[in-house]
């Protein structure tokens, strides 16, 4: 059932979005109509106007859901499930052409050669200027300046068409022609022909968009996709060939060889000279290394005459135009339906970037929830929330210490000659106290959620049953207040998580440590609330009870306790909230179960869907606790604020 729903999620989401848009529109219409009837009441801030209004709730919910569907690209997937796959092919073309494009003033201002000349001549200039300030012999300075001049002419001569490497002109022409023919293929509807059977089989075998996580099917599955995939393969080869080209003309090579030998020569003389001061030694070592570095940059031959690349550039521009035009409606779809990011192609995979990545699709999130809610899968081999059949015998045995069996007179049974073992009373007692007998089983909830909840409940329970009496005592006795106040106030203001490392070290990272941490949190809050409640009891009520003949115990039980109930219940409500927050953080710190643990593991694996699942579970459980407490409060203390 859930698998069927997961497979059909695109259709479901598509209808759901239409439904949401309709309900959004209808509720706005309804809300506006109600507003119009209320317009006669011109009093601004009439609190009655904030009552009711379910239609605005629908408006708000629909709005949030639509935003989620939109920015997570779930809407995009619902209406065009192939879009990501096609855009992946487009991204492949873009990433293949990128190394080539970066040479041209297409995505940036200057031709690469212009940038190189500007940068390298500026650097040569800087070195030349620094020569004057260095502690060098004059002859050395002159020699270095001459080398710099030669370096500069080696640099600028590359831009001179006269010295351009002979083969380059034809190679440029060939590359431009290859791009042009590719552009022509692009416009050819028959290119690249039918995909082979093997291709089709491989494409069909890959999982769909988001089926197994955030991946996008990388092999093309549509005619448009095949075309882009083929173009991407071709353009990658062209770009590779283009990037390999170098303007290493004989003129440049001769210049480089000359400069190289001059630097070597200077260096050798410097090495041989023993009468150089340490200061000059350092300056000259650095100078020669700088000159070598500049030479290595210039001998690249990465600069071409200014207009030599014009053909390739105009071919590229034509290719770009075709590339964009061929996307057709896909381009608009990408812009409007996949906001906040785009699809990028890596070496072997395509991935969503931006909000499509970190905001999981609602349908996938629900799918993930349903998947890990399946007790057979769970998370890290532990179900999210499920039950396990536990024999009752074991639970009863938990209540009895094992040594009871030892107290029974007699010996444990001994095997007979036939190898039989007959049980006796003593062994029966032992079986009973260890739970070693057949008994019926009852379901016991287990799993991450249950672990988190039970920790909060136990910590809270001890916090309440110990904190409330102490708080009442402190509220009624000067001694108790003075004696216990410093102890409570010393640890209470410390943020609970600051205690966590210490408490978890002492009590262990399993349940004990977390429960004790939560107990500390709840205890302090309960002490303070119960104390406030007890202190707040009106003296006249206690006097009245006294003169009605109530004893001290009766006054405590019948007057002070019920009178403190509002504060105590409010304290419990606050405790639950703080405990819940502390627990999740503590589970993130250490442990092997719990919702916080699940979220922490998901964070380490960058599994955004599971992260969102845990966020939703935590929110719903927190809300549930609060609703329960609210119901308890209205039911138990209806007199609150009315006394």
């Amino acid at each position: 059932m859930s698998e069927f729903l997961f497979e059909q999620r695109n259709t479901i989401v598509a209808f759901l979005i239409i439904g949401l848009i309709i309900s959004l529109a209808l509720s706005i219409v309804k809300g506006r109509r109600v507003m119009a009837t209320e317009r006669t009441d011109l009093v601004f801030g009439n609190p009655a106007k904030a009552l009711g209004g379910w239609y605005w709730i629908i408006t708000g919910m629909s709005f949030v859901m639509l935003i989620w569907f939109y920015f997570s690209w779930d809407a995009a997937r619902a209406y065009n499930p192939k879009a990501a796959n096609e855009l992946c092919q487009v991204a492949k073309v873009e990433s293949a052409i990128k190394p080539m494009r970066s040479q041209f003033p297409l995505d940036k201002q200057n031709l690469r050669g212009t940038d190189l000349i500007a940068r390298d001549s500026a650097q040569l200039e800087r070195i030349n200027n620094s020569l004057q300030t260095l502690a060098l012999q004059n002859s050395v300075k002159l020699e270095a300046a001459a080398i710099l001049t030669s370096l500069h002419s080696a640099l600028v001569d590359q831009a001179n068409p006269v010295y351009m490497k002979a083969s380059l002109a034809t190679e440029f022409k060939s590359i431009a022609a290859r791009i042009d023919s590719l552009t022509a293929n692009f416009n050819d509807p028959d290119f690249p022909g039918q995909p082979t059977v093997a291709q089709q089989a491989a494409a069909a075998a890959q999982p769909g968009w988001g089926d197994t996580g955030k991946e996008i099917p990388v092999l093309a599955t549509t005619p448009l996709g095949y075309r882009y995939e083929a173009i991407a393969a071709e353009i990658r080869l062209i770009a590779k060939d283009f990037v390999k080209l170098r303007n290493t003309s004989p003129h440049l090579l001769a210049q480089v060889a000359d400069i190289n030998s001059r630097i070597k020569d200077a260096k050798a003389r410097f090495k041989a000279d023993l009468n150089i001061s340490i200061e000059e030694q350092e300056a000259r070592t650095r100078l020669y290394s700088q000159l070598n570095k500049m030479l290595k940059r210039i001998d690249d031959g990465a600069i071409y005459p200014p207009n030599s690349l014009d053909d390739i550039q105009s071919s590229l521009v034509a290719f770009d135009k075709t590339h964009i035009a061929q996307q057709g409606s896909l381009k608009a779809f990408d812009t409007w339906m996949m906001p906040g990011g785009r699809i990028m192609a890596g070496n072997s995979a395509c991935s969503e970037q931006g909000s499509g990545r970190w905001l999981p699709k609602p349908s996938d999130t629900l799918g993930t929830l349903m998947r890990i809610a399946d007790p057979d899968i769970g998370f890290k081999d532990i179900p999210l929330l499920w039950y396990r059949w536990q024999p009752v015998g074991g639970m009863i045995a938990f209540l009895f210490p094992d040594w009871i069996a030892e107290l029974v007179p007699g010996d444990y049974p001994r095997h007979t000659q036939n190898g039989e073992i007959k049980s006796n009373f003593k062994s029966n007692v032992q079986d009973f106290v260890t739970g070693n007998y057949e008994s019926f089983s009852i379901p016991v909830p287990m799993g991450h959620m249950w672990d988190s909840i039970i920790r909060v409940v136990i910590g809270l329970f001890f916090g309440i049953i110990l904190g409330v009496p102490l708080g009442l005592f402190m509220g009624l006795s000067r001694f108790a207040k003075g004696f216990f106040d410093p102890m409570v106030e010393l640890y209470r203001p410390v943020p609970p998580l600051a205690w966590a490392p210490l408490i978890l070290t002492i009590f262990g990272i399993q349940d004990d440590g977390k429960i004790f941490l939560l107990f500390m949190v709840a205890f302090a809050i309960m002490v303070i609330s119960a104390r406030t409640g007890a202190t707040g009891t009106q003296l006249s009520k206690i006097h009245a009870a006294h003169s009605l003949g109530a004893s001290h115990r009766q006054i405590l039980r019948r007057v002070i306790l019920p009178n403190s109930l509002p504060e105590i219940l409010t304290g419990i409500r606050i405790s639950i909230g703080v405990c819940w927050g502390t627990l999740v953080a503590a589970e993130m710190l250490a442990g092997t179960t719990g919702i916080g643990f699940v979220e922490n593991v998901a964070r380490k694996q960058s599994d955004y869907e599971v992260i969102w699942v845990t966020i939703i579970i935590l929110g719903v459980l927190g809300l549930l606790f609060d609703l329960i407490m609210r119901a308890v409060i209205t039911r138990t203390i209806p007199w609150r604020g009315k006394g």
């Binding site: 006249s540 109530a550 009315k642 006394g643």
Partner: protein, 266 residues
């Protein structure tokens, strides 16, 4: 013999700043069984202190109060108390408030339920037994407080400005109720009030107290409470005797206030 005898009561407080305040000085009086006493005085004259001592909430610095020949040493069931704001237990229903004292004693529940019904009938709240008290008006709450105190059958009823927080109409009705209860049960009642008219209407005897130190200033024996059992209170208030006494007491209290405000020292 169920007289309330106060013998040379003295009460001194030390304020946090070290000043000694003489709240009561040499207060002596005897209240016979069945008498209705109202105590009147300007603020700070020690009338609430006196009541608290009689109730047993405070211990006098010197002197003693005896009820039926037994010295008062603490709060007790023999003295019922009605507070200004009712001091009801709002977490209990009307009936649970009324039978609070009996429940604390562990009395028989059937018996108790019967008594509760009787008393709710008397104070005019029949059928309200299961209503939560916080849903009731101020006047109704004071009736519950009255019933809660009377169901214990105390020898002496102490009322600390019981009608102070009520509106004029409710107050008048409550005054008649107090008179009716006084007449029908024959209880000794001591009422503290700051309203002169109320003191006149609800006082067979009336003490006017003076402040600094708090002491009995003047005592009246009045016929109005008796008259109030049969006549319309408004007619009583129109009589010359009533208005003369009222004016006399008013000017007396006015003078005391003047004395404190101008030139008087702590």
């Amino acid at each position: 013999m169920s007289d309330l005898v106060s013998d040379n009561l003295n009460m001194q407080f030390t304020t946090p700043s070290g000043l000694v305040v003489h709240a009561l000085k040499d207060v002596s009086f005897t209240l016979k069984k069945g008498e209705l006493l109202s105590v009147l005085g300007p603020s700070g004259c020690g009338k609430t202190t006196l009541l608290n001592i009689v109730a047993g909430f405070l211990k006098p610095t010197s002197g003693s109060v005896e009820l039926d020949g037994k010295e008062i040493e603490g709060p007790g069931v023999d003295r019922g108390m009605v507070f200004q704001q009712g001091a009801l237990f709002e977490w209990l229903t009307v009936a649970q408030n009324v039978d609070f004292g009996l429940r604390m004693k562990g009395a028989d529940p059937t018996e108790t339920a019967k008594k509760v019904d009787e008393w709710l009938e008397i104070v005019g709240l029949a059928g309200f037994g299961d209503t939560p008290t916080y849903q009731l008006s101020g006047g109704m709450q004071q009736r519950i407080a009255l019933a809660r105190c009377l169901i214990n059958d105390p020898d002496l009823i102490l009322m600390d400005e019981p009608l102070g927080a009520l509106d004029a109409l409710t107050r008048e009705k409550m005054q008649s109720l107090v008179l009716k209860i006084w007449k029908e049960t024959g209880k000794t009642i001591m009422i503290i009030t700051h309203s002169v008219e109320e003191a006149l209407m609800l006082g067979e005897r009336l003490f006017v107290m003076a402040p600094r130190p708090g002491r009995l200033h003047k005592e009246y024996h009045l016929p109005f409470a008796e008259m109030g059992l049969t006549q319309d209170p408004r007619d009583i208030k129109k009589t010359q005797h009533f208005s003369e006494t009222r004016e006399e007491i008013l000017s007396m209290i006015w003078d005391m206030e003047e004395e404190i405000m101008g030139g008087g020292s702590l």
